[in-house]
Amino acid sequence: MNSNNLHKKLDSWKKKHSSEISDIKESLFLIKRSPLTTIGLIIILLLVCVAIFAPIIAPYNPLEMHLDNRLSSPSKEHLLGTDELGRDILSRIIYGAGVALKIMLIVLAIDLPLGILLGLIAGYFGGWIDEIIMRMADIFMAFPRLVLAMAIGTALGPSLRNTMIAIALTMWPVYARLARGQTLSIKERTFIEAERALGSSNLKIIIFNILPLCFSTLIVRATLDMGNIIRIAAGMSFLGLGAQPPTPDWGLMISSGRNFLINQWWVPTFPGFAILLTVFAFNLLGDGIRDISDPHLRRGQG
């Protein structure tokens, strides 16, 4: 009885959202068809696995020093060599995956809600609230991101947490603007008018009608930014404004390894490859998703 009811509900839901469902199906198909996107996705999945199972995969403890085995070149024991404190570089890179992913996820976890909130308020209510929020956004966007992140990072003091806050503060305007634009366009649609006529409160309209639509747009944008976040965080660490030693952070590893560039090239080089590969994978995915989500680009791709 109950399950029957559920089925019915599910069916009606499916019917109601048939276009969305087929959209998702189509997107998945397109991802599968684009080899580059697939490669990106596979690398990311691998990376996530590496991050989760780091303690199992990593051959050594990433923090363990062996001062008698400093700066040894890649060998059977240490596939990517050791750093200036005799730590195994491969293990540090493996653990670094988790650090990089964590930074990215937390930044997005701050920015998506923040951007949506501000964008919704600005777009839905308009007027002077809109004006204030958007001018704030303009000001924050008037800095090149790294410079602003540097300023905030310096002010808050260098730490991984503050790096994430700094990067998040530089990125919210993008999301706020998107959410605002989306809100504005949705607001004018007839079904919102209808809801309002039926006496729904602003909050209810925002939560049930506007929010879900904003969210999907912002998610697409977020996939485009994922690589960027990791890259900027690495830059901050490189300048000494990010992760603190002995954290196995890739940017920090390059920063402390840069003086060994000539004679112990593996110390700064491998973490750089790790950053490149990760950001590259996220960009492949982001590009793919953007291609798919853009109706103009979708057309003719089939």
Binding site: I139, A142, F143, A151, T154, F238, I262, V279, F280
Partner: protein, 334 residues
């Protein structure tokens, strides 16, 4: 048009005001001791306090802020603690260096980025597209500081193709100051040795920044071209029997250029950003390195000065892009 320009200018000043305010308060909440750092760990307390008084660092924050605003209106950011010179004067030396580097990189980026992007779009999902996408995505994904290190290792150390860093070789003195851009100044002075030397020094950092920017420009060109190639008027052009080259370059490209121009404007901002890291690694005496050093030593006046200048340059480039729009797209009239 005039009204639009006025509105844009007003916004410009609001943004700059905001930037200065944000930077000021950000940099003054830090419990730092820039004076102590400059005077060294051995400096006695009285001396530090004396210098702080001289610089007005002992005043209440509000008072310091109003002093700053007054100064900035006269383009006076005070004295840099680190270099002991007027910040405005320092920036006059460092900014042209960054400008030269940025322009050089931008030229590289445009020369390569646009054609590759066009080819990529035209040969969509074919081998050239895949190659160019991987190439440009690599550029976008590349940490600038790391690429700079690799360039030094490979191009300088192993291949001896570029100098290790700096703006001129040690024996060569800068040309007569006209624009501050060595390439142009040396040409004005007809000193080709300086020209060649300055050019030689630009290659390394220029290629690093250029490659990264090229990637962005290439990407935007590609997607913009793809969008345009789906437009009806492209079909019309084909129906007319125009050559494919004409269809792509005259009909599609001209339309696709509009977002590309925006990207180039934004690129300029990215270049300033990239120059922070690249200049540091290459030891290129530009504004980016000046900003980093100021940040690290919390040389507050210099921090505010360089950030303000960067923001102005950034905002100006956006303004120019907006005006360029009008020139490119007859549909836009302000």
């Amino acid at each position: 048009m005039l009204k639009y320009l006025m509105k844009r200018l007003l916004l410009f000043f609001i943004v700059i005001f905001g930037v200065v305010t944000v930077t000021f308060f950000l940099s003054h909440v830090i419990p730092a001791d820039p004076v102590g750092a400059i005077l060294g760990e051995n400096a006695p307390q009285e001396l530090i306090e004396k210098m702080e008084r001289e610089l007005g660092l002992d005043l209440p924050l509000g008072q310091q802020y109003s002093r700053y605003l007054k100064g900035i209106i006269n383009w006076d950011f005070g004295i840099s603690l680190r270099t002991q010179k007027m910040v405005a004067e320092d920036m006059r030396v460092y900014f042209p260096a960054t400008l030269e580097l940025a322009i050089f990189a931008l030229i590289i980026a445009i020369i390569f980025g646009i054609p590759i992007g066009v080819i990529s779009a035209v040969k969509r999902n074919q081998l050239p597209d895949s190659i160019s996408r991987v190439f440009s995505l690599t550029g976008i994904s590349m940490p600038a500081f790391w690429l700079s290190l690799l360039f030094i290792l490979v191009l300088y150390y192993h291949l001896k193709l570029i100098p290790a860093g700096g703006r001129l070789s040690s024996g060569i003195s800068p040309p007569q100051l006209v624009t501050g851009l060595y390439l142009i100044d040396s040409l004005i002075a007809r000193d080709y040795i300086i020209f060649w030397d300055a050019f030689h020094h630009l290659i390394g950092p220029g290629l690093v920044l250029g490659w990264i920017q090229m990637a962005y420009i290439c990407r935007v060109t590609r997607s913009s071209m793809l969008e345009v190639l789906n437009e009806e008027y492209i079909r019309t052009a084909r129906v007319k029997g125009l050559k494919e080259k004409v269809v792509i370059y005259r009909h599609a490209f001209k339309n696709a250029l509009i977002p590309v121009v925006t990207m180039i404007g934004i690129s300029f901002g990215y270049l300033l950003e990239g120059s922070v890291l690249t200049e540091t690694v290459f030891g290129y005496p530009g504004l980016g390195r000046y900003a980093v050093n100021s940040f690290l030593s919390l040389d507050l006046n210099a921090v505010i000065g360089s950030v303000t200048l960067i923001a102005i340059a950034y905002a100006l480039s956006n303004l120019i892009v907006d005006l360029l729009y009008a020139a490119l797209d007859p549909r836009i009239k302000y």
